[in-house]
Symmetry: C2
Subunit: 421 residues, 2 copies
Amino acid sequence: MDTHIISIGTELIFGQTVDTNAAWLTRQLAGLGITCAKHVTIADDRAAITSAITLASTEASLILMTGGLGPTPDDITRFALADALGTELSLHQPSLDQIAAFFRRRKLPMPDPNRVQAMMPQSADPIENTCGTAPGIHAEINNVDLYAMPGVPREMQAMFDRDIRPALSHRRLAHGSQDRSVILQHSLQTFGMPEATLGDKIADLMAPGRNPAVGTSAADLVISIRMNANASSPEEAKGLINADAAEIRRRLGHVVFGEKDETLAHAVARLLVDQGKTIATAESCTGGLIAKRLTDVSGSSAYMIQGVVPYANEAKHRLLDVPPDLIEAHGAVSPQVAEAMAANCRRLADTDYALASTGIAGPTGGTPTKPVGLVYIALADTAKTTVKELRLGETLPRQTIRDRTAKIALNLLRLRLIGCS
Amino acid sequence: MDTHIISIGTELIFGQTVDTNAAWLTRQLAGLGITCAKHVTIADDRAAITSAITLASTEASLILMTGGLGPTPDDITRFALADALGTELSLHQPSLDQIAAFFRRRKLPMPDPNRVQAMMPQSADPIENTCGTAPGIHAEINNVDLYAMPGVPREMQAMFDRDIRPALSHRRLAHGSQDRSVILQHSLQTFGMPEATLGDKIADLMAPGRNPAVGTSAADLVISIRMNANASSPEEAKGLINADAAEIRRRLGHVVFGEKDETLAHAVARLLVDQGKTIATAESCTGGLIAKRLTDVSGSSAYMIQGVVPYANEAKHRLLDVPPDLIEAHGAVSPQVAEAMAANCRRLADTDYALASTGIAGPTGGTPTKPVGLVYIALADTAKTTVKELRLGETLPRQTIRDRTAKIALNLLRLRLIGCS
């Protein structure tokens, strides 16, 4: 079953918005054993959308579309779809009632432009939107099923989960033996080993044509190793994935910190909860990012006691008892101040651990001796305080320096929690 | 000049990574007056990449590719490109020297697999990578220019800026009068008005076929209004954009908070700097996110004094003097506690303003009277403290609740700073 995903939106083709929907949908399809052959992105142009639909209906066996179902004049997917189907739009009263009810629940008047969202191509069926005003559209074109969904990711996801996924599962069963293959995906997340070194250690598993297909991709210091297994049953696919995952973990050791969507914060959270330990943070250059990541995880109140962001020098004294002479003598960006921040933070919060950061995130504020990208991170526990100097590079953007600092700090804590630092 | 962008990566087609490169490149091309007709995404499959390159060379007048130039066995863009060109790969010694120098500067040994990155199709030219190990590749196929760049966004962007943008500008000039059109893009960012209402107010400007083309897109409470003007000179394009932007600002008033990539934090930062005011934060449910956003902006030490994340109840007392009986009487998630957090935070930090948040970000921790999504935000200045109750909805994901809380809080401060709240 070859699926094409068509993403509609001038903001996508003009690069003002990044399309996350195609990626999400492909992931869901893989879970159903359906491969996606092509992603195509087009602007809000009625003729271009119509011809893309027509072309896809001759190439694909399933078409998923997102975007262009909103209430504003630039939303024209419904018109283009009607053109491709050779039909007209007409008002679908139950959809209009649902849209009106959506506004009533929010105690808001329904703006008149929202009426257009209840207009449907005559041979198509609406799909209810349970968390927004744009119903989806299901149509059949050249005997190919087409599902048009709203572009707002949350609404699209809810609609796919509630109505489209069950329809596709059902359809797959109906297709019978000709389409029994299962695709199972898994991934492992690593931190701290260069991609080439890592690739070298698992090069045999990454050989082209092998099943599972194993690949790596790098995103700001985190290297992901993904595995895609093809099999005739879910059990067989799972067996293949499990064997590879175990072998990769064996070869890479503590470089692997988690699986699938897990972040370093998830890994740290799991270790803190398992060990019944608590943490506090004292952040200057990361400005709250480490605390934010530690509390991204639901249930974080089990380990997160407090964080401080002593951005001004006087705040380092006020919030953390860092002596003004220490700052005077060594500067706010120094191993001595990082150490005092972490040690005092842990003592004042009465936690098992504390993480501190101080550095120059740029692009301004660098000097020849303390350039942009110079960061000190410190980790305190009840026995000792470790300070690490990072030189992240003067040319990195501010957000990258902050992001990497937070990741390296969380990884330092992770390694301490598993007894490796 | 019709450009195709081809993104290579199994992690993209399988939805494990979102492609931000195509969006970035389209934006850069628009700045050069070059429109992008198609984005296509394909897996790390040698035959599929080869045929996509061949197809594009018959349809497009310029091909930009990203991804698949890494050192691991799944990186096969160079092989596929050689196939499409009908040639072989051979070692390019200067590229190998550059890769070796990259590792030497980092005082690391060069892993052997990185050698493949210096292999080039015989009729192609390498493009230096100044911040990574993967050189790009420039080739000509069926008289169409093709540029293959690494998939790591930072490396791709640096390579485009340094070598490809100048080449494309030069090429445009050489093409002469047949291709004089200028495309200018602009966008305004808004907060606080529903998309349909906003669309209704500017419906005439959004009419299909109008120049500039005006469209809206929504992303987690921020509605962007984008304008794309076509003109025969940059001055004419600028005039068209300026007229529309002024008209939209006139109709929407303080709902417009910024332009282009500006966030609410940028808007707040500009107002704080202009007015010489300072800020402190006290965050429970947002866990440092408001402080993080306020310090995303370079130069934030001009206004950001300190932040605290009093996650545990005892930390609310320790860091903010919130009386334990107040928490006992009303609960940590209450207007009373939010008010005390903001007022005490401002007093202790001695700032002009303080923002506070306390709420239930979920997915656990909700009760019938205090459901997930119930959040109190408070804004204190020297005269008063304002508390706002938010009911963001029990079904929203944790990160969305935290994101929206931070945005609504920053917008509250923005409106105060411009005298509208």
